[in-house]
Symmetry: C2
Subunit: 138 residues, 2 copies
C-alpha cells in the first residue's frame, strides 16, 4: 500500500470510528503521547492527549452527536508526516477539515484535527464558478 493510500485509509477509519461511536478505535487512531492537538468547529485550541481524547469521548457520548461524513479526501504525504484535507458534511452543512498524521511504528497516527465551517457566501461563490464542489479550490 502506498503512503497516500495508507493515510487515506487511516483518515477513513477516523470517520468510521466516529460514525459508529467506537471510542476505543477512535482513541487508538491518535498518537499515544501529548504531542497532539485538536480544534473542533467553534472551539478553542485543545492540546495534549487527555484533553484531546477526552473531548472526543464527550462528543461521542453526547446524545446530540451529529452524523459526519467525509468527502473528497485529498492526501499530502512527505516522509514520515502527512495530512488529508477534506470536506465534512455535518448533517447538511459543509465544513473544511484537515487531519494531520505522523508515521509511528509503521502506522499513521493522528496528531492534529481541525474542522472549520464554510461561510454561506463562499459556498455560493464556488457554485457560481462551477467548480463542481463547494469545498475545494485548486
Amino acid at each position: 500500500m502506498t503512503d497516500k493510500r495508507a493515510i487515506l485509509a487511516a483518515n477513513q477509519a477516523f470517520y468510521v470510528a466516529f460514525s459508529t461511536g467506537d471510542f476505543a478505535k477512535l482513541a487508538g487512531l491518535w498518537a499515544d503521547d501529548d504531542n497532539i492537538s485538536c480544534i473542533h468547529p467553534g472551539w478553542p485550541v485543545i492540546v495534549g492527549r487527555a484533553a484531546v481524547i477526552g473531548s472526543w469521548r464527550d462528543i461521542l457520548q453526547s446524545p446530540g452527536r451529529p452524523q459526519i461524513t467525509c468527502h473528497e479526501p485529498y492526501a499530502i504525504v512527505t516522509g514520515d508526516s502527512g495530512h488529508v484535507v477534506c470536506i465534512e458534511l455535518v448533517e447538511a452543512a459543509p465544513l473544511a477539515a484537515s487531519n494531520h498524521f505522523r508515521l509511528v511504528d509503521g502506522g499513521w497516527r493522528l496528531v492534529h484535527h481541525q474542522s472549520s465551517p464554510i461561510a454561506p457566501s463562499m459556498i455560493q461563490a464556488a457554485g457560481n464558478e462551477e467548480q463542481g464542489t463547494p469545498g475545494r479550490v485548486h
Copy 2:
C-alpha cells in the same frame, strides 16, 4: 536553536510578513511545491502552491486587510515535521489557528495553515472556567 524555537520563529515570521504586507517574504515561508494547503476562516480547502500563494496575494492586496496578531503560540515538533497552534486576534475576534511546517533544507517551511473562528459561547465558557485565556484548553 532548538527545533521548537526555530519553528516558533518561522511562525512569528509568518505573522510579521502578513502584518507588514510583505508578500515576497510570506510566499517564501511556504514550501516551494504543490504539497501545501490552506483553509482561511470561512473558506473552502485550497490546495497547491498557485492557489495557496495566490490567496495570500489577494488578501494582502485587499484594501480591507485586517490586522492579525498571534498569541500564545505552542509548538509541537517531531523529527522533520511540526506544527504551531495559537490564537489569532483578527481585530478583536479570537480565532483558533494552526500552522504546520516541514523541514526543508534546514529551514521550517509552511505546508498548511488553518484558522477557525471561536464561537462566542466557547469564549464565555472558557472565561467562566478561569483558564486565563479564551483560546486554549490543556
